[in-house]
Symmetry: C2
Subunit: 464 residues, 2 copies
């Protein structure tokens, strides 16, 4: 946990921002896998962590702004419990560590809220994402779970605070990145012909766990990097394959890292692989150099797309004027998703609170209809203190090519004939994490190799 | 998956057993960790696996007994989905593999059920354990999630079937045990002074994952074996500690193993450790030899307790007549929990369906008030085809000793003075998995070393 003052000051800022009513924070529970007492690893809700820091299940908290009261609701262990669990720090003591003096049994939360409701005070709550909290909110507020109506002022105040990272948060993110960087090097050393993808995933999970971290998200470790939502890890690595490894650690305090590297199983890229890799690398570097406060991330995304198109024209897969191609969204045949997202206590930071508040503003809302832009999680103007990812890629998706080709879609920009010979090419992504600083950006964490030369040298020196 | 015939025949048996109404089966979903799209590893519901075998999320099924119709409800991937996920086997094809011809979109499930309800037909469903299915049932049946009322005939029919393991199921359990046995040997090789418990847990998870398995449950790997519900793995191993390792693999098809071994960090047990270890081993062997059809497992539990008391009397920690001590439940100061439980697709098999149906019968219900017996998950008469665990232990729990001692509880059987010098002793458990056969029992999986001599030799030969 951070200092008592950290949590007190975060809460006091929040309280001033929302100004009236009761702020309700629901912690997470231990979620059942296949029966009630066989549970997934516990992960506290990130907003609860941000304001209270306690990584324990079955807690809730309120900040009663009108009465200037902060209370944590949860149950102390009974003597019976202690027989089974051993002595544990009391809830009282845990609460004192985040500066909350008052704790009450969990069962008293409902009546507290109902009392407030009776006096026509507003109960502010955030959008629930775990079903258990949807059920709980229904009970607490005596509404149908379908009628849950989160508080926009509460969401906006939380987003405003959590978006600007404190130095101690950046230090935690860099801790996650130090471990993640080693995970990526280990993956490069582990990969070899005829092992399964899951073998690599298991090795890097082992490394993360040994270094007091977990995965921040289910890793993508695949020879089919073009499949963007890919959890399958049963393929065997073959000579000539590239591996796309998108994985990151989460520290014990909950801070994430999110790195992607793509490297050849055989130690050397083929000519085609090297050429497209360098196109992605140029798009990455072009985007990175543009990062600074006041810039719209949507523009950085489109700039990166422009670099991709220029490179694809050089390779011969695209043609025509790159600027016009980007305006026509022709790059989305190769780059279907977004350039990056906010990162912090969540790998997609605050995604539970709603992309429209985190990645966009009311003045500059998301384009939810254009293929490509509708998958861009972050579009807004950057501010000092934002932490975000930059992750351009080229993905050769046979199903998408077939659809576009059938319609002869944007054929003034696409060289469909040559593209046919790339059908099985796969996908390439390069991803690092950056802090926006007053005068630009800072790479977070150690520098992880990414040039063709560095990767080939590393692979050559480390593979048996 | 097993053969088409397997699933067809299981369903046909079930259908005959329940005889009328609609049987509703809810599969599991991908559960959110910290936001909707960051999810825990998917695990299908075990009963759904048993009757349909499809390990994919967002499915439900019905067996409409009155109309002799079986339908799987779920959504086929759209062409848009395929761009993100790659080509996947269709739901139709998956369903054919378990012999179900008819599939419908998930959204049609509610109206099917409401139709049946209107014609006053019974909709049978099982107790939901994941909150998502509590919410879903509420919506499907248009009732408050608190008014959910599972079908006892359905539960009983499922329990009757799943309790008797088929040969192919036993083969799967033995696959899980083959991997688990290696995990335990690896743990013994990995343990050494000054590493953290989590280091061992990470190593065995790595092994499981490399061998196409997952953990069947969160492993207990601890120097505090006396803490029965212990997920903490941050302790550093010290000379003189014992490690209790309760961990098991789950195969890709969902079958579990559940093994416990306790071994000394230093390679050799101390005299006290060896003596109590041998007491537990004798209780283990005594219980094992008693396993056969027709025997009440509650009696095996009490017999095992009697062996523990006899050993504890020899050591001097207990006194008086062992039979009387067990009748007075004096052994529960050392052995607070149950001797074992059913095992299969769940590590505590069918625990979601209710212990009163799985481990007990109406004629011989559970003793829910006596300390010790109230934690015995299995008490009923054994039948050929049951798979269960045997896991006696001795747990020296300071908090419990203090409570009993203050009341001078059962002091005719307990040597409280000597016990004081054992306060920091820890805990020992030995656990294997058995099949009940016509003429007794069969150890499942490979034999995993458990004598003091074998463990000390193995540790000595394998620790650097
Ligand atoms: Mn990312
Ligand atoms: Mn067990």
């Amino acid at each position: 946990m951070f200092s008592v003052q950290t949590y007190q000051s975060r809460r006091s800022t929040l309280q001033k921002q929302v100004s009236s009513g009761v702020l309700l924070f629901l912690g997470n529970i231990e979620n059942p896998i296949n029966f009630e007492h066989n549970t997934y690893p516990f992960r506290q809700d990130s907003t609860f962590l941000y304001y209270f820091g306690i990584p324990a299940p079955y807690l809730a908290a309120i900040i009663d702004i009108d009465n200037d009261k902060t209370i944590i609701f949860g149950n102390e262990l009974s003597i019976d419990d202690i027989v089974w669990t051993g002595q544990q720090e009391s809830l009282k003591d845990k609460s004192l560590k985040c500066g909350v003096q008052e704790t009450r049994p969990f069962a008293q939360l409902a009546s507290y809220l109902q009392q407030a409701k009776k006096s026509d005070r507003t109960i502010h709550y955030l959008p629930p994402y775990q079903s258990s909290n949807k059920l709980l909110l229904g009970e607490l507020l005596q509404v149908n779970p379908k009628e849950i109506n989160p508080s926009v002022p509460f969401i906006k105040a939380v987003v405003a605070q959590r978006s600007i990272k404190e130095n101690q948060e950046i230090a935690e993110i860099e801790k996650a990145l130090a471990v993640s960087t080693e995970m990526h090097l280990l993956a490069m050393r582990t990969a070899q012909v005829s092992i399964q993808e899951r073998h690599i995933a298991a090795a890097i999970q082992h490394y993360a766990y040994d270094h007091n971290c977990n995965f921040a998200y289910p890793p993508i470790v695949t020879v089919h990097g073009e499949i963007l939502h890919n959890a399958y890890q049963q393929n065997f690595l073959k000579e000539g394959d590239m591996i796309l490894n998108d994985s990151g650690a989460e520290t014990a305090m909950g801070y994430a890292a999110d790195l992607t590297r793509t490297f050849p199983v055989s130690g050397r890229f083929t000519t085609r692989q090297r050429d497209l890799y360098n196109v992605v690398l140029k798009a990455f570097e072009g985007a990175r150099e543009r990062l600074k406060p006041g810039v719209q991330f949507k523009d950085v995304h489109l700039l990166s797309a422009r670099h991709l198109v220029e490179g694809l024209v050089d390779v011969g897969l695209m043609k025509g004027d790159p600027e016009e191609a980007v305006q026509a969204h022709a790059h989305t045949l190769f780059f279907q998703c977004g350039l990056g997202h906010m990162m912090g206590l969540d790998v997609h930071d605050m995604e539970d609170l709603g992309e429209q508040y985190v990645g966009y503003t009311e003045q500059e809302p998301k384009d939810t209809s254009t293929f490509g832009l509708k998958s861009l999680r972050l579009g807004r103007e950057l501010q000092t203190g934002f932490v975000l990812t930059v992750e351009p890629g080229i993905y050769i998706i046979p199903e998408l090519i077939d659809r576009w080709k059938k319609e002869n879609k944007l054929s003034q920009f696409i060289n469909y004939d040559l593209l046919e010979s790339y059908r099985d090419f796969g996908g390439i992504r390069i991803e690092d994490n950056f802090l926006i600083t007053n005068d630009g950006f800072r790479l977070l964490g150690p520098e992880l190799i990414k040039s063709v030369e560095d990767i080939e040298n590393y692979r050559t020196n480390h593979v048996q």
